[in-house]
């Protein structure tokens, strides 16, 4: 506690770095996952290979992936971003596909039958109805990114991991405690915030309550 009081500005700075890294990851990951998910939702034969590949990436241990990237992109945030974005893809792409697949086929047929073009149908009908499931993916991706991003400190990408690693090397319990609490607080905060958005999106998408599998684990 006294560590936090004395060095609050340093902790705050690391929290800022951590958040920046996480949000940048999420932005890039979504920019990749949304079109990929849309493509897989439309072109079924691509699903198996692409989701399989993302699944393989997901199983590579994070430290190993960071290590693999050092020779290519060097130490620093570039490597960290690439690894973190790669980890997010499976859950994000999968939820985009599941969300679009889950739109009631009769709603799609009505939209087509009335002469909505493909893009208008996506924007006006499919995207709003798929949103809750996509947000569920965002929540899981965000929480896991906040966790894995601590390891980014190991390749000089900053963030709260810096405190944790320092604490480990210096046998400095206060640093470990402060770092752990801060990471947990971020993760829990993100979980609650996106969970709220999800419930709003469910209400918007027709007032259904979320199906069991989409509810947040409490």
């Amino acid at each position: 506690m006294s560590y936090l009081v004395r060095y609050w500005d340093r902790v705050l700075g690391l929290v800022g770095e951590h958040l920046l890294l996480t949000l940048a990851t999420l932005a890039i990951a979504l920019a990749l996952a949304l079109p990929t998910g849309l493509l897989l939702a439309r072109v079924r034969p691509l699903r198996g290979p692409v989701l399989g590949l993302l699944g393989v990436v997901y199983t590579v241990p994070s430290l190993a992936l960071f290590a693999l990237l050092i020779p290519v992109t060097g130490l620093g945030s570039a490597s960290a971003l690439i690894a973190l974005v790669a980890y997010c893809q499976l859950v994000l792409v999968r939820n985009v596909v599941v969300g679009l697949d889950g739109v009631d086929p009769s709603v799609i047929e009505a939209a087509r039958g009335m002469g909505m073009g493909a893009w208008r149908r996506l924007a006006d009908v499919e995207a709003p109805l798929a949103l809750p499931v996509v947000l569920a993916g965002v929540r899981v991706a965000l929480v896991s990114t906040i966790g894995i991003a601590t390891l980014a400190a190991w390749i000089n990408a900053g963030g709260l991991g810096v405190l944790l690693f320092e604490g480990l090397y210096q046998d400095h319990t206060a640093k470990i405690l402060v770092g752990t609490s801060a990471v947990s607080a971020l993760a829990i905060g993100a979980n609650v915030l996106i969970g709220r958005l999800e419930r709003l999106a469910w209400a918007w998408a027709g007032g259904r309550t979320p199906p069991r599998s989409e509810q947040q684990p409490q």
């Binding site: 009631d104 047929e109 009505a110 039958g113 009335m114 002469g115 208008r120 109805l129």
Partner: protein, 335 residues
């Protein structure tokens, strides 16, 4: 009558299936008529319907809407001019009733005022008070109300043609009857051409100007309900329509055909009456309830228009009727 829809030797074979779903169908639908495509499940009636708005592309053959080959028009643009109603309704659950109904006008780029007026007009037309229903969400509607919105949405761009695929299939009998009446009223009032797919024989007999009976992808027979019952072309048509059942025949004959002028017969039942345009089937149940006493046919204001007696009904059911009288189907439809 000009032809609204012309199907010329339409064939549709789905990939991987040996037997065509639609197997060489030619059919002309006249402007302003309500034609029912009647058949059992798997007879190809829905597939045939979808070739008209290009939700299904025929393997071969030609589909014309108002004299123009549908293949010459972009599907989305074509569909904006053809109303489409399906059994599952398919309302957009995240939009209000008003916004659902406004779908096509919004695509067409109407201004807000015109859209709002049109939405209110249509909600009124389908029997949903606009002030009460405009802002509701689809989840707050009963099945019948939802399909009323579905019909309003299909009519929003004022299309001359309406395609309906089992639109009342998921509704209870009472609601189905009410919606059928609403549809007939709208179709008459605005002269819409309606192509209506169903497997419900009673509904078909009740609403159709003509019925096209489909079986295994082919047309078995196309004619007025009375003519189909009087002379089914195949055994299948006869058994599907239950043409051996005399009550079935009576269901498509309006009571006016056997009605005697009022004021002649004594002993008219005091309470049992029939509305104008009722079917002879209803006349029979009224006569059964009256214990055989003659029953008066009254207009909306309760004034007697005529009377019906057992004798007159029975004479109409004798083996041979003039076929021309069967085909003409004068007067309002039976109910």
């Amino acid at each position: 009558m000009p032809t609204a829809i012309r199907l010329d030797d339409v064939v549709k074979t789905f990939p991987g299936q040996a037997r065509p779903a639609v197997d060489g169908v030619s059919l002309d639908v006249e402007a302003g008529e309500l034609l029912v495509l009647l058949g059992t499940s798997g007879s190809g009636k829905t597939t045939l319907l979808k070739t008209i708005n290009r939700l299904v592309e025929p393997t071969s053959g030609r589909v014309e809407v108002e004299g123009v080959d549908v293949r010459s028009r972009p599907p989305a643009e074509l569909r904006r001019g053809i109303g489409y109603v399906i059994q599952q309704v398919g309302l957009f659950p995240h939009q209000t009733v008003a916004r659902n109904v406004a779908t096509v006008p919004r695509i067409l780029g109407w201004d807000r005022r015109r859209i709002r007026d049109r939405v209110d007009f249509l909600l009124d037309l389908v029997g949903l008070p606009p002030d009460e229903f405009r802002e509701r969400r689809p989840r707050e509607l009963s099945g019948g109300q939802a399909q009323r919105v579905g019909i309003a949405r299909a009519l929003a761009g004022d299309p001359p043609i309406l395609l309906m695929d089992e639109p009342f299939g998921a509704l209870d009998a009472l609601t189905r009857g009410a919606l059928a009446d609403a549809l007939l009223g709208i179709q008459r009032q605005f002269g819409k051409t309606v192509l209506f797919v169903t497997h419900d024989v009673d509904l078909a007999l009740r609403i159709a100007d003509r019925i096209a009976v489909m079986r295994a992808g082919r047309l078995e027979q196309v004619d007025t309900p009375a003519a189909l019952l009087a002379s089914p072309a195949t055994a299948f048509v006869g058994s599907l329509l239950d043409a051996d059942d005399i009550l079935q025949h009576l269901a498509v004959v309006p009571v006016e055909e056997v009605m005697a002028p009022p004021g002649r017969a004594a002993g008219v039942h005091l309470h049992e009456t029939l509305p104008e345009g009722a079917s002879l089937k209803r006349a029979v149940s009224a006569l059964l309830r009256s214990g055989g006493a003659p029953v008066a046919v009254v207009d909306a204001a309760g004034r007697p228009r005529g009377i019906v007696t057992w004798d007159r009904v029975q004479r109409r059911t004798q083996p041979r009727q003039p076929a021309a009288g069967d085909r003409a189907r004068p007067g309002p439809r039976g109910g």
